[in-house]
């Protein structure tokens, strides 16, 4: 087996971190609206597009200057707000009214797919038609050249890849504190578990759900903003493949726990490129000629979806760990 390089490992950690945030958001909206949001991948791409536009309009002038580093704060922040609002609009304008009218889960799912199609096509139109200051045209541009380089312990990598995991961890901790230490955060968990009881206690469940959707969208925006430096190019249609990995991580996490989503998302995002590159290097070494399989990388996500649903549809959080550990002990003859 040929192990991936440190550079590649750093890349995979960054990718895993951003997927963790995406899965977290998807799971949050799934727990509130009880419907998988098929537009979540495109929400992330919207975050990427916002970053692209910021660079095209403003930041290209500062490339190489210290001021340029503020992009790593400004872009995610702007993306957080705009994408958060977009998700909120999706919830308020589409899902909530439809659910209120008694539309079933299939209708709600197709409605999220409809929102996805609207979003992808509007974004495509915008990127084609919007005036561009630096790139000439916005569609399909790569931001790889705009990611500041950095070298740590002799490993050459980029700034976004180093920052992304820290941002993800910081956001996860913040969210955890919010959900366990603040009244509104506890109300969020309460409203997800038992909305009608929450209502009888005076909690405005609608408001809580609105905040959930805003947060979910916001996190997708942050994630997409960092992803924009990693992906080959910013294309609206890319969301339709990203969504498969988001579902994979969320299903692995059990679709019912935000901690499961974080773990599931990171595992899928980290393992997907790592496994693929390891397999590719190993095959190349074994066969003695260059084998390229990275274009099939996403099949890993599909495989995760299928295997988890076949073996443990409840995901990681649904597994009976005591039972498993107990069995392992008995088999191993310990204890």
């Amino acid at each position: 087996m040929v192990l991936p390089s440190p550079e590649f490992t750093i890349y995979s950690i960054a990718y895993g971190s951003s997927l963790a945030l995406l899965c977290l958001g998807l799971t949050l909206t799934y727990m509130t609206a009880k419907v998988p949001n098929f537009a979540h991948g495109t929400l992330a791409i919207l975050g990427s597009a916002i970053t692209l536009i910021l660079i095209d309009r403003v930041y290209y002038q500062f490339k190489g200057e210290p001021l340029y580093y503020s992009i790593y704060i400004v872009a995610p922040l702007v993306a957080f707000l705009i994408v958060g609002l977009t998700a909120l609009i999706q919830y308020l304008l589409i899902l909530k009214p439809l659910a209120k009218r008694g539309v079933g889960v299939i209708g709600l799912m197709i409605a999220t797919l409809a929102f996805d199609v609207i979003l992808v096509n509007m974004l495509t139109m915008a990127l084609y038609l919007a005036p561009s200051a630096y790139f000439g045209k916005l569609i399909g541009q790569s931001l790889k050249g705009f990611d500041a380089g950095i070298s740590i312990l002799g490993v050459v990598t980029t700034f976004s890849r180093i920052v992304m995991p820290f941002v993800a961890v910081a956001l996860a901790i913040t969210l955890h504190l919010f959900l366990t230490r603040t009244k509104f955060g506890i109300a969020m968990r309460a409203s997800i578990e038992n909305p009608s009881l929450a209502r009888t206690l005076g909690i405005d469940v609608d408001k809580v759900y609105m905040v959930s959707w805003f947060l979910a969208g916001g996190l997708a925006g942050v994630s997409g903003s960092f992803l924009s430096f990693i992906i080959e190019s910013v294309k609206p249609a890319a969301g339709s493949l990203v969504i498969v990995s988001i579902f994979a991580g969320s299903i692995l996490g059990g679709l019912g726990s935000i901690y499961g989503a974080l773990i599931g998302g990171f595992l899928v995002g980290f393992m997907e490129p790592m496994t693929t590159i390891t397999l590719q290097n190993t095959l190349t070494a074994l066969l003695g000629k260059a084998v390229i399989i990275t274009q099939y990388q996403r099949l890993f996500s599909l495989l995760v979806v299928i295997v988890v649903l076949l073996l443990a549809p409840q995901g990681l959080t649904g597994l009976n760990y005591r039972g498993i550990i107990g069995r392992a002990r008995r088999v191993g003859g310990v204890g």
Partner: protein, 420 residues
């Protein structure tokens, strides 16, 4: 406004009728519809009927239709081309050798096996060889009949198998899981596996197919009588015939005990819990039949649109999303509704396509973009945006669609038991 509409159900119907009428009137300039338009409508209607069977009657949220349609197209592009080459080589041995000597630069050092791979996998070889093979095949009614049977046989079997495989992981689970799995499977098969593997059917460049129809010109005796009939007319005839057959099949199915069982399964969670195993088996059957129908549609489609590109032509919006819009607009679990919705949405999209340049000429000065560029972009994106808006509006205003499902008598427990 929304509450006003909610209060007066009549207003809903009126609104829908107005929207439908407006669409048709806007579509009037298109009354010079071409034969290919009629053909495309027939094909998309087969897909909508298949979807209605799966989603409308059986409650399977099939978000992966595009893959099943593509499998049919692959039956021609990936399998038909190779079967055709084999047929020609079998009946006139030395054909491959002849190809090699005619194109030494391209095929000179390819083994026979490699020629078979490259006939669909390599754009240049594909272009040359399919035309040559086609001229041999179309000269013989036996060869073309054999090819037709092989291609459609493959389309049906592979379509059904893909339908089963795609849903297997979630067939026992709730609808949302099923929807996720079907979307993920379809998306990855079409735009990763088929689109990234040249050897299957040309990857992103796609492959040209060998048209399979027995030529009327080749049917001895009739040749003089009819002359040669254009291929598209044969495809149209086949498409309409299959459409009729599918309509009759789905309609009869819907009114059979099996159909009522499907609806009971769709409407009642309890049925799923009580008859879990049978529900899984029934769902798989429905997946197989519906996917096979879609696959046949894809195969017929590829006889006219003979360059088959996986992700480019068989994209999720055109072959999954638009059929859903057609079905929801027309009325889920109503076949007449599905047909009506299909025609309206098709014409509506055409109309937007037609009017896009006019809209572009208005907005382009404001945006400071060239009118032709704006026109192209509007043509590509606007129909999709409007279909998205349409779905949401219909779900809100009239979730049962234009022609709602006919109420049917509910299935008694004894009947369920008798069927399962």
């Amino acid at each position: 406004m929304a509450s006003l509409i909610a209060r007066y159900p009549r207003l809903q119907s009126l609104l829908i009728v107005v929207i439908a009428a407006a669409t048709i009137i806007l579509a009037l300039p298109l009354l010079g519809l071409t034969i290919t338009d009629v053909f495309s409508i027939a094909i998309i209607l087969i897909v909508v009927l298949a979807l209605n069977f799966m989603a409308g009657y059986a409650g399977i949220p099939n978000f992966g239709m595009a893959l099943f349609v593509y499998i049919g197209a692959f039956a021609l592009a990936g399998v038909g081309t190779r079967v055709a080459l084999a047929l020609v080589e079998l009946t006139s041995p030395g054909f491959i050798e002849l190809l090699r000597s005619s194109y030494p630069l391209i095929l000179g050092d390819s083994s026979s096996f490699e020629v078979f791979v490259r006939v669909a996998g390599d754009p240049m070889v594909n272009r040359i060889v399919t035309r040559k093979v086609e001229s041999v095949i179309e000269a013989s009614s036996i060869l073309s009949l054999t090819l037709t049977l092989a291609v459609f046989g493959f389309a049906i079997i592979a379509g059904a198998l893909t339908g089963v495989l795609a849903s297997l992981a979630a067939v026992r689970l709730r609808e949302d899981y099923l929807a996720i799995v079907l979307l993920a499977f379809s998306e990855l098969m079409v735009s990763v596996v088929f689109d990234q593997t040249d050897a299957l059917a040309g990857g992103p460049n796609g492959a040209w197919v060998v048209r399979p129809w027995p030529r009327v010109g080749a049917l001895e005796g009739l040749a003089g009588l009819l002359g040669t009939i254009p291929d598209v007319l044969i495809s149209l005839a086949v498409g309409l015939a299959v459409l009729a057959a599918c309509f009759i099949y789905v309609e009869r199915m819907a009114n059979s005990p099996m159909g009522r069982m499907l609806r009971a399964m769709r409407d009642d969670d309890l049925t799923i819990r009580v008859y879990g195993r049978d529900v899984a088996v029934t769902r798989l059957k429905v997946m197989a039949i519906g996917a096979a129908m879609a696959s046949i549609a894809g195969a017929i489609y590829a006889t006219v649109y003979i360059q088959v590109k996986a992700a480019d032509t068989y994209d999720r919006v055109t072959w999954t999303f638009v059929p859903w819009a057609m079905m929801i607009l027309g009325g889920m679990a109503n076949n007449w509704g599905a047909v009506l919705g299909g025609i309206i949405v098709y014409l509506g999209r055409k109309a937007i396509y037609y009017y896009a340049p006019a809209i572009a000429s208005v907005i382009s000065p404001i945006l400071g973009v060239e009118a032709s560029i704006a026109g192209d972009i509007l043509r590509a994106q606007l129909p999709n945006i409007l279909v998205g808006v349409l779905i949401i509006l219909v779900l809100y205003l009239r979730p049962q669609g234009i022609i709602p499902e006919k109420p049917s008598k509910t299935l008694s427990r004894r009947e369920i038991e008798a069927i399962t």
